[in-house]
């Protein structure tokens, strides 16, 4: 199914690939959240060890519990906002275009597209042990315009994406040239 943002495909245009960042990205968010959720337990153990009187104090106890609740809610909120940021970032490759849909925090969302025929260069970059082992990395798509460049961050199988873009771009260019050439009499 095409992403909700792709409201209209051109006649004859088909969706070839829909990609999000690699699953290691949400895994990092979840693991960080789990570690952060465990922090109050560590602090509790520390208080039990160093200052147990705090837990029975009439004022300190409610304040500590209030801080714990606030902290837990904040971890949940920021972790999930981060996750939604990941979840709503999508790259779509169609037979005619590359679409880059990105959510930046709460109030900024960008949806940009490149015609495959205008693509000059595609670079797939995998760096580091983690990216090499789990087969993810960045893909840079460069057009003829000096500054126009798509950056697909931490995408799964970047080489496959690069090959697909190059292949479709070449097809699109040949198709456009074929259409543009006047028919011989």
């Amino acid at each position: 199914m095409a992403h909700a943002i792709v409201t209209k495909l051109e006649p004859g245009e088909t969706v070839v690939l829909i990609r999000r960042a690699h699953w290691i990205v949400p895994l990092k968010i979840i693991l960080t959240a789990l570690v952060l959720f465990a922090v109050p337990l560590g602090v509790y153990q520390l208080i039990v060890f160093a200052a147990p009187a705090l837990l029975d104090h009439t004022v300190a106890r409610p304040i500590l519990l209030l801080l714990t609740v606030t902290y837990t809610l904040a971890v949940w909120l920021f972790s999930f906002t981060d996750f939604i940021d990941y979840f709503l970032d999508v790259w779509i490759l169609t037979s005619g275009r590359v679409l880059n849909i990105e959510q930046h925090g709460l109030f900024r969302r960008t949806a940009s597209e490149l015609n495959l025929s205008s693509i000059q260069d595609v670079t797939a970059e995998t760096k580091g042990i983690l990216q090499t082992f789990f087969k993810f990395g960045d893909v840079f798509v460069q057009t003829a315009a000096e500054h126009e460049r798509f950056h697909m961050k931490q995408i799964a199988r970047p080489d496959e994406m690069k090959m697909k873009i190059m292949e479709l771009s070449e097809k699109d260019r040949i198709h456009e040239q074929g259409v543009g050439t006047p028919a011989k009499a």
Binding site: M1, A2, H3, A4, I5, A50, A51, A53, L54, H57, T58, V59, A60, R61, P62, I63, L65, L66, T68, V69, T70, T72, L73, A74, W76, L77, F80, T81, F83, I84, F87, L88, I101, Q103, L106, F107, R109
Partner: protein, 90 residues
Amino acid sequence: MTFPLWYVLIPFGVFLFFFLLVCLFNTYHLIRYADGGALPFLVLSVYLAGTVLLLGGGFLILEPLDWMQATTISPDSLPNFFELPPATLK
């Protein structure tokens, strides 16, 4: 200075307002921009269930506490929580 303990709930209320506002935006983004498959529905369900669970749990923890008690803050009123108990000689 003496004040009722519920005063500390005021900043918590501000935080809660911010929390609910961001929750609302996150839910809106998920409904509006994610495609209509089962995965966004699952993500939304987990998100809302977790939010309700944490808010409910927080309420259950904080509700039984006596927030009406007066609190005094002065250098003399602060107990030394880290003071070691006196050693007893046998």
